[in-house]
Amino acid sequence: MRLTGALLVPVLRTLPWRALGAAGAVGLLIVSMARLTDEADEMLALNLLRAAALAFALGLAFVLDDPARHTTAAVPTRRPARHALRVALVAPVTAAWWTAALLLVPDGIRPPVGDVTLEAGAAFTLALAAASAAIRLTQAAEPGQAVAGAVLTTAVLGLLLWPGRWELFVGTQDPKWAAAHDRWGMVLVGAVVVWGVCGPEPLRRRVFLKPTRA
């Protein structure tokens, strides 16, 4: 507990506030279009909220970036604890930002808050899981840019190529809305599992390829 307290201020200073601020601003700008357009309906509001959540997820892809990663590679404070603290510090900001995004959508056309929040939560967790995987699988100290690119590409490809029977991006009036949100729940659980698996530093490496001489 004392360790966490001592780490609060320095970790707060090392968080990627610029990336989060930019992503948050873009996201709010996107959602504000729901107020600026006369013909806005629930479907448009839903898609604007989805786009805004994606924008903020791109900012979250930078949360685990640490330029001092290699300098602090051999410290006793465990990596999952350090990552958890970073995420815990960003969580209230994320919650406040998402609340603001929801409030920007006029009451009459706001999609079901719980379901759309589930979608956003899954997108945010996916971005963090991808960042965690990048740190586990590579030596990059600041993989945020690559992770954000991968998250964006995955979102676009998912939108275009996702099989119809497992559809995720459906409208509120669509009869598949409830089923789609069961799937969003599974995406969220999957992202949490990936995050949990990639968090700890391994004690042993797994051998997949037969080595040759250097």
Binding site: R2, L3, A6, L7, P10, R13, T14, D66, P67, A68, R69, H70, T71, T72, A73, A74, V75, P76, T77, R78, R82, A141, P202, L203, R204, R205, V207, L209, K210, P211, T212, R213, A214
Partner: protein, 287 residues
């Protein structure tokens, strides 16, 4: 003397390339130099011993702790200092703030004691006067010393330094040598370097690596002795030499197997290093 580090059969590969191949060694108190060409496996060995990356095979202990278990790794890290090849920083932190941050990560939670320790290590690397300066405003040599200070926090019993003098000017290198020599008093230091002069001046022992394996393990004098009777001067470049170059006096210094009647000269540590690599089948000209 009980070894600080005891490693047996360490192996590690990246993709299909074996970076470490059955490496065994014991390290005792004092500065041990690790020499080798690029891609020899020096950094990989240092990262494994610093617990920054696990090995595929083999085992080792540091100060009696086995980093193959979560608890053992934690214990090792409490008593270890690590300066990576390219240390990274939070550039907006001051030197004091950054070392303080590392000290917290090293579990020094008592604020007063921690700040005293941070001041001590910054003074030890002669950065006491600039401790309030932001890291982005410091020179490359000063940043290297900030990283060294961070590695010295908590007075670790085992210090791993990966090419700390690379990119430094001669004056900074001299200063760094002094710091490393001081750090080596009373603790075990493993120093990876390309500078044979660093090894000659600092180390009581030298290990040469090539192709992921240890090719030599002995004292600097023993490494120099590898080239005894295998260095000679000649008026022209000797085509039979493994390596040869014109010296400042205009004559050629040759390393290899001398012809009969050659004008033999005293070898240096570098000659011994080059011939060790050559004996290991490494292209000497490229080393």
């Amino acid at each position: 003397m009980t070894p600080t580090v005891s490693a047996e059969g360490l192996s590690l590969h990246y993709g299909g390339t074996r970076a470490l191949d059955d490496v065994s060694l014991r390290l005792t108190r004092g500065v041990t130099g690790l020499l080798g060409p690029n891609g020899a496996g020096k950094t990989t060995l240092l990262r494994v011993l610093a617990t920054a990356v696990p090995a595929d095979r083999g085992a080792f202990t540091v100060l009696g702790n086995d980093p193959g278990t979560a608890r053992g790794r934690q214990e090792v890290r409490r008593r270890l200092g690590y300066l990576p090849q390219t240390p990274g920083f939070h550039p907006d932190f001051t030197a004091f703030e950054f070392v303080d941050y590392v000290a917290i990560l090293k579990e020094l939670t008592d604020r007063g004691a921690r700040h005293r320790e941070v001041r001590r290590v910054l003074d030890e690397v002669d950065l006491g006067d600039v401790r309030g300066k932001r890291i982005k405003k410091l020179s490359g040599g000063m940043r290297q010393r900030v990283a060294l200070a961070a590695s010295l926090v908590g007075d670790p019993g085992f210090l791993v330094l990966d090419e700390p003098t690379v990119g430094l000017d001669p004056e900074q290198r001299m200063r760094f040598r002094e710091l490393i020599a001081r750090a080596g008093e009373g603790r075990t230091v493993l120093l990876s370097t390309h500078q044979t002069e660093d090894v000659a001046m600092l180390c009581h022992r030298v290990v040469v690596m090539a192709g992921g394996r240890i090719r030599f393990d002995g004292t600097p004098a023993e490494l120099t002795a590898v080239a005894a009777g295998r260095v000679w001067n000649s008026a022209e470049r000797d085509p039979g030499a493994k390596a040869g170059w014109r010296t400042g006096t205009g004559s050629f210094r040759n390393v290899g197997n001398p012809p009969a009647g050659a004008d033999l000269t005293d070898p240096t540590l570098e000659d011994g290093y080059l011939l060790t690599l050559d004996d290991a089948g490494v292209e000497v000209a490229a080393a």
